[in-house]
């Protein structure tokens, strides 16, 4: 029991990171109606970008976040038209094809990363890496590493920024309109193509930034992608697909599960537990924990 507060704290700190991935992911699903199977690979590429930029420039990864965001945002904006083309095709089953396309993309990225970066596991050093806060009260001791705390603060900042963007700006209004009804939004003057590209760029940028942080907090390796893809799915399905308000709770739950398994059980069983929870939720409440999904 002594470790329980520590496990919960770690879970909250870790879960914070997943919030940003899942919100951006959920947003893309809302607008484009596709599930991006390459989400974990974007995290991996972001982590490597942070690792190498840090190596070359010597700057702190937290300072490099805007650079990574801009680079990956541009890449996302450039890739989205291809996905749009697949999705708006008249032949076959466009939604299915979109899934297949991102899956192929993910496979390609994975092979590419393994070829270029090799199989080594690295970690990006940061100015926050060393320090930690230590509390001791009521017989419980609690260690909070600074880098994880910084990660949580980053996640909160991104969440607030996305919330502002969606609820207070014209762009956000367009995005929400597109999510509700594509055709009507188009008739009301929302440029679906451009907004879609921007949202996808935003999503890729945010995901890659989060990747940089995961590189600082956990590790960077070419094979890390699929695990995070499953985590992103887990959070989004648990929250209810397309229901943004549920994302933080689901992400925190994932963080807890992961940290509890790390401390009390074998970390190798995490994926099994994640699947078991996902399965149970789908069985009991297919529309997510809150019953508000699509």
């Amino acid at each position: 029991m002594e470790l329980l507060p520590q496990a919960l704290m770690d879970g909250i700190l870790l879960g914070g990171i997943y919030i940003t991935i899942a919100i951006a992911f959920s947003l893309t699903y809302g607008v484009m109606h596709i599930i991006d199977f390459a989400v974990g690979e974007w995290i991996m590429f972001g982590a490597f970008a942070g690792f190498y930029l840090n190596k070359w420039t010597g700057l702190d990864p937290f300072l490099l976040l805007p650079v990574v965001f801009v680079i990956f945002g541009l890449i996302g904006c450039l890739i989205q038209p291809v996905i749009h083309r697949v999705l708006s095709g008249s032949k076959g089953n466009p939604l299915l094809m979109g899934l297949v396309f991102t899956f192929g993309l993910g496979l390609m990225f994975q092979g590419l990363a393994m070829t270029v970066f090799g199989f080594y596991s690295n970690s990006t050093p940061s100015m926050f890496s060393e320090g930690s806060f230590f509390f001791e009260k009521f017989g419980f001791s609690l260690t909070i590493s600074t880098v994880r705390l910084a990660g949580l603060i980053y996640a909160l900042a991104i969440t607030m920024a996305l919330h502002y963007l969606l609820k207070k700006t014209n762009f956000g209004l367009g995005v929400r309109a597109l999510a509700l009804n594509k055709d009507s939004a188009g008739l009301m003057g929302v440029n679906g193509k451009r907004t879609g590209a921007l949202v996808y760029g935003l999503y890729v940028g945010v995901t890659a930034m989060t990747g940089v942080l995961i590189g600082c907090i956990l590790s960077v390796s070419a094979g890390m992608g699929p695990q995070y893809t499953i985590f992103a799915f887990f959070v989004v399905v648990l929250a209810g697909m397309g229901y943004l308000a549920g994302v933080p709770w689901a992400a925190l739950l994932l963080g807890m599960v992961q940290s509890i398994f790390l401390i009390y059980f074998d970390p190798g069983h995490t994926l099994l537990a994640v699947f078991a929870i996902l399965y149970t939720i789908l069985l009991i409440s297919p529309k997510g924990l809150f019953g508000r999904g699509v």
Partner: protein, 328 residues
């Protein structure tokens, strides 16, 4: 259509049956045996992906479940192969029931995610359990008779093909599945029960996959989580089906033969660049989706049809002009 399959299918089957009598090269027989296995895996994958419109990213898990069930029953329970093999199919069907029950009621994306997560979970389960030998895998008693495995594989795949051909192309079942693929709500409005039909399609896809896994285990005599439960099996089946042509039975066969031939050549000559294979698989998937959404077979068939339509149009316009001339 029926004449066509008999005209083309029977000679091909005859050639395949007669082949081992003519060619005695063991390596060649081995390659063909595996190619036949992949044809079976690809057409089983297509039942769900092409005909029903649901992507099963856990296809490899059913293959591995069949392989492990057969291996475990033979090694730990001492069952004969002939009894253990069908159990592989039964196990795959049970897994399909369990996995499909909550997910098939939902939209396609949920199913794709859930099956993918399932395959990862099954792989991890095989890695940590004692009975499966963990990462070291399992060894089966060697039974060195390449011809036996060739004929067994061929019989299973040919039977699967015939069954699927009948069910999907010649019975209402195939039409019902296509109705679900095109418009699920519309299908429901017509009085179909999509969840039940999808479940049946899922089991129809899982059982041959599990049985092929069982044959594979006894044939290769060594199975481990990486080779039988890994993603590569699902990935390759997906490539074959997408490249060959979804929603047809001939397309996946062509895709399976071409991709498998490519794979064999690649591993034979370029095995130093193993990772390149993953990139090529991904690129083939992505490019065929963008440029050839109907796959090789669908695109070629489309050209043929277009040409035929064009010729027909030309003919009718010519006839019309002739008649006009005659009238004058």
């Amino acid at each position: 259509m029926k004449d066509k399959i008999i005209r083309w299918g029977l000679p091909v089957l005859f050639v395949l049956i007669a082949m081992p009598a003519v060619i005695h090269d063991t390596f060649f027989l081995r390659v063909v045996t595996e190619a036949v296995m992949w044809i079976g895996l690809a057409i089983a994958f297509d039942v769900l992906a092409g005909y029903t419109g649901y992507l099963n990213f856990g296809h490899g898990a059913f293959f591995g479940l069949g392989a492990y069930t057969t291996a475990l029953l033979m090694m730990k329970a001492g069952w004969p192969f002939a009894l253990a093999l069908p159990m592989g199919g039964v196990m795959a069907a049970v897994a399909a029931l369990i996995a499909g029950f909550p997910t098939l009621r939902l939209k396609g994306a949920y199913f794709a995610i859930a099956t993918w997560a399932l395959s990862r979970a099954v792989q991890q389960l095989a890695l940590i359990m004692d009975i499966t030998g963990g990462p070291d895998g399992m060894r089966l008693p060697p039974f060195l008779n390449p011809q036996f495995f060739y004929y067994l594989m061929l019989a299973i795949v040919a039977a699967t093909f015939a069954l699927l051909w009948y069910l999907l192309e010649h019975s209402p079942f195939g039409l019902k599945l296509k109705a679900i693929r095109e418009d699920e709500q519309g299908a429901m409005a017509l009085g179909l029960n999509p969840t039940k039909l999808k479940m049946q399609a899922f089991i129809l896809s899982a059982v041959p996959t599990g049985i092929l896994g069982g044959v594979y285990a006894y044939w290769i005599t060594f199975i481990d989580p990486a080779s039988t439960l890994g993603d590569l099996i699902s990935d390759q089946a997906l490539v074959m089906v997408v490249f060959g042509g979804m929603g047809t039975l001939i397309g996946p066969v062509i895709g399976a033969i071409l991709i498998f031939a490519f794979k064999t050549l690649f591993w034979a000559y370029l095995s130093d660049f193993q990772l390149l294979y993953l990139i090529i698989l991904g690129a083939v998937i992505a490019l065929s989706v963008v440029f050839m959404p109907n796959g090789l077979w669908g695109t070629l068939g489309g050209f043929k049809k277009k040409k035929r339509d064009h010729e027909n149009k030309l003919e009718t316009s010519l006839e019309a002009r002739l008649q006009k001339n005659e009238g004058e």
